[in-house]
């Protein structure tokens, strides 16, 4: 993985994009997100409720999955095993000028990106905040007795609108993943080609391999 710069690009070793902990956290969180999204839709939309039935079961699954949603992420972050996850969260936090350049469609081609593009950063940040918000408002909705009554109204309001945002973010996230099969595969197997990294995430490539990303003329 450390710069085998003598080889032609085709034989350059793959780079590790996500380690086992990160992939496990990602897919466990994804499974829980899909569970709360579909059970939530079944609880919320009349026609789906009628189709699914078993409201008691659906509600129990929704609450249990919702309470469990932060667990993979928290275990991944707090454990000794989570160094790469913590580093990636730091990368998602930090924005460089190229992220803003990338956000503008007109100037997107000029951006030299790090490990994550601005869309990935926004998506991860929003979904992270959504986990906290949905947990907090969900708890107020389910166990409302200790809280002032108007909070029940406010929590319902926030839970509804954030849910809509989660649906939009997740559909977008999946659609973008489908459009880049190599990136999607690296969330399953962990490694990604040096070519992908060099062309799509040049700053990350340089940092990881120690080689310049633009040493060869490659199509973008």
């Amino acid at each position: 993985m450390t710069g085998a710069s003598l080889h032609p690009p085709e034989t350059e070793a793959d780079l590790e994009r996500f380690d086992r902990v990160e992939r496990t956290v990602h897919w466990a969180t994804a499974a829980l997100f899909f569970t709360v999204m579909f059970t939530g839709a079944a609880l919320y939309a009349g026609p789906i409720s009628a189709l699914v039935g078993r409201r008691e079961l659906v509600r129990t699954v929704h609450v249990v999955a919702g309470l469990g949603l932060p667990v993979p992420l928290v275990v991944g972050i707090l454990g000794r095993w989570g160094a790469n996850l913590r580093a990636d969260l730091g990368r998602i936090n930090r924005w460089i000028l190229d992220d803003r350049v990338w956000l503008r469609r007109r100037t997107r081609d000029r951006a030299r990106l790090g490990k994550f593009n601005a869309g990935q950063k926004l998506n991860a940040t929003f979904l992270g905040a959504a986990i906290v918000l949905m947990l907090g408002t969900g708890i107020i909705m389910k166990w409302f007795e200790p809280f002032p009554l108007p909070w029940r109204t406010g929590a319902t309001f926030v839970h509804d609108w954030v849910a809509l945002g989660v649906w939009i973010a997740v559909i977008g996230h999946v659609a973008f993943a489908m459009r880049d099969p190599e990136a999607l595969a690296s969330m399953q197997r962990g490694r990604i080609s040096a070519r992908w990294a060099r062309t799509k995430r040049p700053r990350w490539y340089e940092e990881t391999t120690g080689n310049p990303a633009e040493r060869l003329k490659t199509p973008r």
Binding site: N93, T125, F157
Partner: protein
């Protein structure tokens, strides 16, 4: 740590943290002010949702029913098994089948449905029997001053004064929007208290009891107002239904 930037050493500014904390802050503000904002949305956006020909806007959390139950599940009962009992301070206790209930004169009421948690469904069509007709059929005794309602699973209770219960817009409802009342909306039959917040409209109505005085119901024991006029109770200012 220089290599941890993922940006080839360039550190960047903590925009992610700001966005994250900003979203959490918005959520807290939303919990505190959501009641007012939802009311405003129901007034301004719900009419647009109703006119949207694609139906896509109806996915928005505006102008739609939420299904609440105080137990884990939905009490299920078929129309064939349904019974409505009337007891307490009456001349003749009743035990009505669904067919006996629907053989009584039908009353239709179309009003907005307003929940105390903020959502409002515009122009909901109900059909059923006037509560007053059911009470008269049993014969209310002179020492009765209030009416108590119990869901047929026994978990939910509600109450009205006798004067309120005798209004024209109090129904034992069994049709919603021209369809048989489904279980999630409180079927086979429920109480429908048109001018009050939704929690007064006891779902899965199984028993009506005439009493000497009002006994606070399920939600009233937990802080909501007994006289739950829409817009004049529970600290809310919704327009009347």
């Amino acid at each position: 740590m220089g290599n941890d930037t993922g940006n080839g050493g360039e550190r960047g500014s903590p925009v992610g943290r700001r966005v994250f904390l900003g979203l959490i802050g918005l959520g807290v503000v939303g919990v505190a002010t959501g009641a007012a904002v939802q009311g405003w949305l129901e007034r301004t956006v719900a009419p647009i949702v109703g006119r949207d020909p694609t139906g896509l806007l109806s996915l928005l959390p505006i102008g739609r029913f939420r299904i609440y139950t105080v137990t884990g599940g939905l009490p299920e009962r078929s129309r064939a098994d349904y019974r409505l009992r009337v007891r307490g301070l009456v001349d003749e206790p009743l035990d009505l089948s669904f067919a006996e209930l629907t053989s009584m004169p039908v009353t239709r009421v179309t009003r907005d449905f307003q929940c105390v948690t903020g959502w409002r469904v515009p122009s909901v069509q109900w059909a059923g029997v006037r509560l007053r007709d059911v009470l008269d059929r049993a014969g209310v005794q002179s020492d009765a001053n209030a009416v108590r309602f119990v869901s047929f699973d026994g978990a939910y209770t509600e109450s009205l004064t006798l004067e309120q219960a005798r209004r024209d817009d109090m129904l034992v409802a069994y049709d919603l929007e021209g369809e048989p009342l489904s279980s999630d909306h409180g079927g086979p039959a429920r109480l429908y208290v048109a001018p009050m917040y939704g929690y007064k409209s006891c779902k899965w109505l199984g028993e009506i009891e005439l009493t000497a005085r009002v006994e606070p119901g399920y939600w009233e024991q937990r802080g909501y107002d007994v006289d739950a006029w829409v817009g004049r109770s529970n600290g809310r200012d919704d327009s009347a239904t």
